[in-house]
Symmetry: C2
Subunit: 133 residues, 2 copies
Amino acid sequence: MDNCSSKLDFAKSGGLIPTIVQDAETKKVLMLAFMNEEALNKTIQTKKAHFYSRSRNKIWLKGEESGNFQNVKKVLVDCDLDSILLLVDSKPACHTGHYSCFFRQLNNDSGIKEIEKPVFNPEKTYKKKELKK
Amino acid sequence: MDNCSSKLDFAKSGGLIPTIVQDAETKKVLMLAFMNEEALNKTIQTKKAHFYSRSRNKIWLKGEESGNFQNVKKVLVDCDLDSILLLVDSKPACHTGHYSCFFRQLNNDSGIKEIEKPVFNPEKTYKKKELKK
């Protein structure tokens, strides 16, 4: 099996490639996270999204605590091979309980305003008291 | 006017925040680029997307050469305040002539495959011979 992840430009961003996650059905952008080459290989092999946590310095499987795994339908790459777009099935993505991590709007007159309400209670969903992304 | 860009966490990624650009109408993801605080402020003030080029070390106005300015409808921010999502009007985004920069799919069996064709000729659109992102 060709290890196609090696074609991407991981060096440009110090080993980590920004990865957009989009709902394949509704086209809603759910989150942005980072992948190193191992996370991308695990994602391709398992068809479940894996990322690299910059704060915890390790690979994480999205959904490992919440159960909201992201089943990957397509992996797209950009023109410069330094960004990734995952198309995934429909699941809430945010550790705050919102469907998308992008639930707030920035306005210069009113500051930051929540424009979407949570769809689940994160305190019940996450096993640990300290919520993680 | 409140300078709301100061609420974002630019420090986390060395001053640059990854910014997703999405077509407000079709919901297609067009590109990913980076913003520093000045680029975000210019974007908010002018309602045209500005980014920070890591290769050229300067602010750039998207469309300054191609004419395909991105008129910004909404600026969304993520849960950790370290990613931005711009919703823009419908314009081709990629310096290769494709509508979206994400025109290739990654498959482990067939490698990287183009799944969308260009919609314009970049040699005619860009003034300089050396194409820029």
